[in-house]
Every structure is written in C-alpha cells, then in structure tokens.
C-alpha cells in the first residue's frame, strides 16, 4: 500500500511500528511535491529543509515512544497563517517576501502536536476569491482536470490534498473557502464554529466571518487534526472558552434516529441538475443508514450573498488598511510624498479583486450609506442566524450541496464577479451565522467531484464529523484519487 493514500491513523500506526520513519514519509511527500507542484502551482513555498528537520525531531520522539497521534505527520499550511521565519504572502504582491516573527496559533498548536511542515499553499489573494485565480502567483490547477479551477480561496490546500501531495492541509473559510474547494477537488473539509479555533496569526480578511479549519481526505482525518487546533486562546478575544471534545472518539456516534434537515432553499433555481442528483443520492444513503429526513426552510437564506458582500468587504476595507507601505510589505519606488506613497503602494501592491472589495467596503461604511448597507446587512445577518436557530430546533443537521456545480474552467468566471460570487451561495450562510459546516465528496459529474455540505448547530463539530464519517464508511468517493496522482 502506498504511503500517500493511507489514512492518518494508518500513517501513525506505521510510524509507531517503525514500518517507516517520519523522514521517509516526509521525503515521500517532498518527492511528490517536486514532481507535481510545477503543474499544479499548489505550493507557494516548499520548506523541504524545515520539513526534514521537523521529521528528524519527530523520529527521535517516536524512537522514545513519546510520540502522539500526529507526531511525524507531514502537513501544509495555507499561506494566510503566519509562520515564524518562513515567508507568509497571502498570495499577494503586497506581502511578497514578508516574514512574520511569530507563528499563528494554528501553526503553533499543530507544530506542538508533532506535525511536520511541508510548505505553504497557494490561495486567492487575501482569501478573496472562489477559484484561486486572484493569486498574485498564478492560479492553482485542479488535480482532476488541469484546465479547471480547484475552487477558492483555499484552492492550494485543496489541490495539495486531492493530489495527495500532503495528507492534510489547513485552510480558512470566510464564505466557503474551505468547503467549496474541498467540494471541487473531492476531499473533506471542515469549517468549525466561529470562535472554536483561534484567529491569532491568521491574516484577517473579514474578522467576524473568518475561521480556520482543516482539509483532508476523510472526516476521520479531519477529526484527528481539528482536535489540537481547537480551543480557547487568550490572544483572540473572539475565541470561545469551551472544552474540546475527543473528535476521533466521537466518530463512532450512531446515525440511527438522526434527524436530517433538507433546506428547501438549497434546491431551488441555480443548482445544476447533475450535482443536485448526486446530493439527493447522498441523502438517500443517509435514509438507508437510519436517519430521518425532514424538509426545512430558512426563508432569509437567499439574502446571504448580498449580505455577505456588504459585511465582508466592509471589514476587509478596514483590515487591509495596515498595508500602507510604511512598516511592512510592498512599498512603491520613489514616492513623491506621503499620499503618493499610500496611493501607489496600495495601487501597485493589491490585485484587482482585493481592490474591488476594499472599494465596496469603503463605500458601504461611508457616511450616508452606512445605515442603508452595513446596518441593514447586519440586520439581515441576525435574521439568517434566527432562521438557522429555528431549523436546528427541528433537526440535528442540515444537508445540501456545497456548490452549485462541479469545478469550472480557469478563466470562465474571472471577468464576471457576480457569477463568481454566486458559487458561494450555499456556503455563506454558515459563516454569517457562525455555524460549523463540512463538505465531503458524494459523487462525480463528468469525472469531476461533487461536494455534499453538512451544517450543524454551534459547537456540534463532533456530530458533524460523525455524520460525515458514517457516510464515508459506506461510500468510497473520499478515497478516490485523480489517476495522475494515484
């Protein structure tokens, strides 16, 4: 059995049994990266030296039987997480060459758990995009079809896991940036409850929506990695002080009697027929597993895209003000004066999608427009949150599609922002309400993966993972690997 298609549990077993060392495992993935990254453009930075020294340290621990479940497991981090001594770019010209002097909380915790850092993954610039085409460093290719997008913004992490260049990778999800690329590349990804994972050291896009999560081949692998990432962090005031359950142990929860809600609004106009059929088939699978299927409605959910495109740009316009050419990041050549320094540093350093959102955000916060846009959007946000609350008083989990269709062609939607934004129509609601949500593969359309989305009440990660795991016990979509990377 090849190393790169094993589950994390199997890898951990192999490491503790000395079947292979962490250095060997790491080298195996580094070789795969060297072979494939040129075509995929999924890694922005490969930290081979650091990876091997991490692996050596892990091997030393394993030799003393002091390793944990993740000791010596190689992973990749989205290039939005600050890494001490390693460049963190957010895939922007603005941060090309930027090296933070500290690790993000997520990086710190996964390193402490013994993981080995393979490198930093490509993404949409500042996580703004649904196709990975806004990266300053070029688009990421979908391993299932190099002419297709991998989704975004965590497209690099998704492609890395889909092509098995790493067993798992971190991602962030502001409006679907973990789930949509997971769906488009046929992998599993979880966006935890807002506040579950510390945002410290994660470069902010929209602070009230951003949440870090994990992308891997299966729900079981996600469970293993989410556990050390989750938990209170005093450095993030929005992180929640609440015990972290044992997600791996929780996978065995029975699906018998589970009440699954089918959101009426997710199966309306806009959902491609074949994708809808795959999702329906998955729902039938759950019925066979003993779950009760109920139709529910969140009437305000169709307003989630416009709401999101007011709230997220508003916060982004402020969050990105710190990139002014003064202290760090890109600075224009020979500024004439302060205003010129600001204008040209930002004008030259940011890409067009980032600028579009900064301008949108600046507009909706302006005097005279604030009430009509920002305040109104916040009110709709509460209505959407209330809708979900009502739905969860009837059911345990909501199921639906992750994206309207499978991966689309690179270049297809790049000139049409509104169509692009609609790709997140099913994922944004969970961000607005701060709910945990997952995407798992549930079939193929034209040999491209389709994602099934699961949304749960606040802090129901354990149940979500179990619901996903139950499905993956009776299906094999999650273990399929694109032929070129098998």
């Amino acid at each position: 059995m090849t190393l790169h298609t094993r589950s994390l549990a199997a890898l951990a077993l192999g490491l503790t049994a000395r079947e292979f060392s962490s250095v060997e495992l790491t080298q195996h993935f580094l070789d795969r990266i060297a072979a494939s990254n040129g075509a995929l453009n999924a890694f922005l930075t490969v930290t081979a030296e650091r990876a091997l020294s991490d692996a050596k340290r892990a091997d030393a621990l394993l030799a003393k039987n002091q390793g944990g479940a993740l000791t010596g497991i190689p992973i990749a981090h989205k290039d939005i997480f600050c890494t001490d001594g390693i460049q963190t770019t957010c895939a922007s010209k603005m941060l090309k060459g930027f090296v933070a002097p500290y690790d993000a909380a997520v990086v710190e915790r996964l390193t402490a758990a013994g993981t080995v850092l393979l490198g930093k993954t490509n993404m949409d610039e500042f996580a703004m995009g649904s196709s990975n085409e806004t990266s300053h460093f070029g688009p990421v290719k979908n391993p299932w079809d190099l002419a297709k997008v991998p989704g975004g913004s965590s497209g690099g992490s998704a492609a890395v896991v889909a092509a098995r260049l790493a067993p798992a990778a971190t991602g962030t999800d502001t409006g679907g940036s973990i789930r949509q690329p997971a769906a488009l590349t046929g992998i599993s990804g979880i966006k935890p409850t807002y506040g579950r994972v510390s945002r410290y050291g994660m470069i902010a896009f929209a602070s009230s929506l951003d949440q870090a999560g994990i992308m891997a081949a299966s729900a079981e692998d996600c469970a293993a990695l989410l556990a050390p990432m989750a938990g209170f962090d005093a450095r993030d005031s929005t992180s929640v002080e609440r015990a972290v359950p044992d997600y791996v142990a929780g996978l065995q929860q029975s699906l018998k009697g589970l009440k699954i809600g089918i959101l009426k609004e997710f199966f309306a106009e806009g959902l491609e027929a074949h994708t809808g059929a795959r999702v329906q088939a998955a729902i039938e699978e759950y019925r066979r597993l003993g779950a009760e299927i109920v139709e529910v409605s969140c009437p305000n959910l169709p307003l989630s895209v416009p709401t999101y495109y007011v709230v997220a740009p508003a916060e982004a316009s402020s969050n990105l003000s710190r990139f002014d050419g003064v202290r760090f990041g890109y600075r224009c050549e020979n500024p004439r004066d302060l205003l010129d320094l600001y204008k040209r540093s930002r004008g030259e350093g940011f890409g067009s999608e980032v600028k579009r959102r900064i301008m949108t955000g600046t507009y909706v916060l302006s005097a005279g427009y604030y009430d009509a846009y920002y305040l109104k959007a916040q009110k709709v946000r509460s209505l959407i949150t209330d809708d979900f609350k009502r739905a969860f008083s009837q059911v345990d989990v909501l199921l639906g599609p992750t994206a309207p269709g499978p991966a689309f062609a690179i270049g297809d939607k790049v000139d049409d922002p509104v169509t692009m934004y609609l790709n997140d129509i099913y994922t944004i609601g969970a961000n607005l309400a701060g709910l945990p949500a997952m995407s798992i593969p549930c079939g193929f359309v034209n040999e491209l993966p389709v994602g099934l989305q699961l949304i749960g009440p606040h802090f129901s990660e354990s149940q979500l993972l179990a619901v996903a795991h139950g499905y993956q016990q009776v299906t094999d979509f999650h273990s399929r690997v694109p032929a070129a990377y098998a």
């Binding site: 997480f81 600050c82 963190t88 957010c90 941060l95 930027f98 933070a100 002097p101 500290y102 993000a104 945002r199 410290y200 050291g201 994660m202 470069i203 902010a204 929209a206 602070s207 009230s208 005093a234 450095r235 993030d236 005031s237 929005t238 508003a314 916060e315 316009s317 402020s318 990105l320 003000s321 710190r322 990139f323 002014d324 003064v326 202290r327 760090f328 302060l338 600001y342 600046t362 916060l365 302006s366 005097a367 604030y370 920002y374």
Partner: protein
Amino acid sequence: MSEFITPAGWEVVIGLEIHAQLATRSKIFSGSATAYGAMPNTQASLVDLGYPGTLPVLNQEAVRMAVKFGLATGSRVADRSVFARKNYFYPDLPKGYQISQYEKPIVEKGSIDVLQEDGITKRVGITRAHLEEDAGKSMHEGLENASGIDLNRAGTPLLEIVSEPDMRSAREAVAYLKKIHTLVRYLEICDGNMQEGSFRCDANVSVRRIGAERLGTRCEIKNVNSFRYVEKAIHYEVIRQIDVLESGGKIIQETRLYDAAKDETRSMRSKEEANDYRYFPDPDLLPVVLDEAFITSVRATLPELPDEKAARFMASYGLSAYDAALLTASRDVAAFYEAVVAAAKPDAGLAKLAANWVMGDFSAFLNRDGLELSAAKVSTSGLAGLLDRLSDQTISGKIAKEVFELMWAEGLSADAVIEAKGWRQITDTRAIEAAIDAVIAANPEQLADYRSGKDKLFGFFVGQAMKATQGKANPAQLNELLKSKLASH
C-alpha cells in the same frame, strides 16, 4: 485679569474634550509597557505595530479605571459598551484605524461641580467618557526629507471625557479642566502630567448674541497643553469670532490649532476637509459587558472624592469653601495638611493657621525649588512643631517665616532654629516694660508731640521698642503696655 472679560452683548459657549491617559502599566490592547520617555519604538509590540494576524485584547484595568471615573461623576456606567474602528490613514496610526468607542461609550450622562472664583458653584454636564487607544508620534525634527515614527505611545489607553457646552467663559473652562484634573488624580487613573501629554484638552468654542436661542457655529481648538494656554487660546478664539461676526462675516466650522508662541489660533482643516472615519463596531473585540457585582466592586475602591473632602474640611476644620477647595485640589496636599494638624498641639486657631502655612510659605518654597510634595524639605511634624511655637507665642509670625526658611535650608526643627538663633519671643512683662521705659526716656520730644495729639507717633514708639528687644517682644503685649505707658506718664 481684566483682559479676559467677554465683550458686551456676547455670550461665549464652551465645551471641552479632555484626553486623560490612563495610568495602566500596559497598553489598552497589548502587553507593552506604557512608560514615558523610552527610546523610540522600544515599547511597541507586534500588536502595536499592527502586524498582520495580530489581534487586540482588552486591558481590564483600563475598563476598571473608566468605571471609576463614571462612578465619581455620577454618570451612567453602561452595562454594555462597544469598541468601534475609526478609519483613517496616517503614518503614526499603524493599523489604519484607531480603536475607540463611538455609539456606545462606557460612561454617559454625568456631571461635576466646579467652584468658581466668585464663590459660586457651577454644575458642568459630562456628556460621555469613552475608552480608546492613542496613536504613535510623528517626529520631524533632525530628519531631512523624512519623518520618524515612534510607536511607543501607540495603544496607550485614553479616556476621552466630553463635556456639555456648559461653560460661559475661558475662566469657567479652566476651572472645569482643573476640577477634572484633580479628580483623575484622586482616582489614581491618570498622572495628570500635561507636559508629557498625559492630560490634554481640545476646546469647542462658539459665540452668540446674548438672548439668541441657537448656538453659534463652533470651532474646535486643538493642541492646548497647559491651563494657562487653554485660557489664552479660548480668549483669542472668542475675540476672533466676535470680530468676524461684528464685521459681517461668518464663522466656518473648522478645527484650529493653538500656537502658544504667537498666542493665536490658526485654521487646520474645515469641516468639508474632515475625514469620513467610516466607524463600525470592531469585530475583533467583544462588547464590554459589566455586571452589577463588578460595578459594586469598583465602587468600593473609590477614595474620598474632592467635594466630599472639601465639605469635611469645612465642617471639621472650620475652613472657608475657598480654602477647603484649594487644600483638597490635590489628594497629597490634603493628606499633608491633615497630618500637620494631627501632629500639632490642639489650639483654637490651629486649623486656619495650618491651612495658611500649607498654602502659603510651604507651597511657595516647593514651587521655588521645583519640588514634589514628597520631596519637601520640611516634614509634617516639622511644620507642626513650628505651628506649636506660634500657638504658644514662643515666636511671632514674622520670626516664624525666618525660622521656616532655616528649617527648609538646614533641615532643622523649629525649636533648634529658635534656640540657636535666640529668637524666643519676650513675653516677660517686666522686660518689655523696661525696654519701653528706656525708649520713652530717650525721646522726650516725641513723647510731648504724641501727648499733644500726634497719634501717628505711636508707630514710632513701637518700632523703637521692638528694635530695643531685637524684634523678640511679643507684639500684642508690647502694644498694650506701650499704650498704657504713653498715657500714664
């Protein structure tokens, strides 16, 4: 100062915005130190520098201090207040926004009583007080074609105290400012150091014709960093506005800068040029939620407040409102005064005598030497010892001033100075009578003139007799004895 009288027919309307730097050890959203005067950028952490990925964490001590202020001014302390972002670009503002409270401040709707010089107490409304972070400093001196940025101050906690437009003269404004200055130091929430910028003030000034209902257009004067300059800047602005209006002009709402060297205000930016700050709630910080138990626990830490202390001084020491206000303006001075009174021997006139000395010579010497109260050269017991010798008439008031000077200079007790100098007052009636007799005998002409009605010559005899006793005769006794001797001869 008669020059500060408002021109007839006009009414001045003033409101103040005071920025009090809170005396926390660390910054409002980071763990960096707040000490003044460190090397540039040595007290700026990654949070203060606005590094990508860093997040603010609220300093609970700053909240406690703001609540203290709210309770001390009878304000409403909000059970829920919200931090917002004030967005604008400036090199000394690392994040491109300042975290401040906007729509929901922590303190609202209070007031403070201010004793004016005419003895009338005026109540000034406090609209709100909110928490915010300070920006860094831009430095231009000594740099060519460049500006320096020092972010040591970035993130220092400020309490912005906004008054109602209740003040009607520069005098009243300064009296209010002083009262707030006294209060924040009593509460130990601000060191009040105006030179170092820990206590700053912007003044909103407008004028209107007496009887006019609507307020005039106001100008905001920035950069006033002493009580005297506040008074001068406001006065300048009042005269400027009245001149403009009387010559048929209009006041433009704008921000003006006070130039102390030229004693004038200059336009900085008009309302049209003002930034649109695009305030919105900061998503990185949770609302500040305070429960009754917390507020009660803060209330328990409140010291005796200036007004309470002044009232007690009037009641227990029999001081006038003016003396009591002056003595209680500083918590340390008030404590010093009380310690002096406690250490001295009880005497009918002691409280007033002590008040005069603490506010008089003692304060004058501190000022002369530029010393803090804690570094005074005469202690509470030292001053009490001097007052004892005044009370028991060992020395006269005139001699006491000389004794005090030597106590200050040499670090001696009053008794030691009096002994060494032989300044013990002569109270022996026979000794004084002997001196008087000798003076009368030596000046027969003056005696004759006096007796023929030249009353003014009494002073001559007092002077001569004092001289004969080297100034040590008890003045009251001397007067009395002299009067009867001159009459009886």
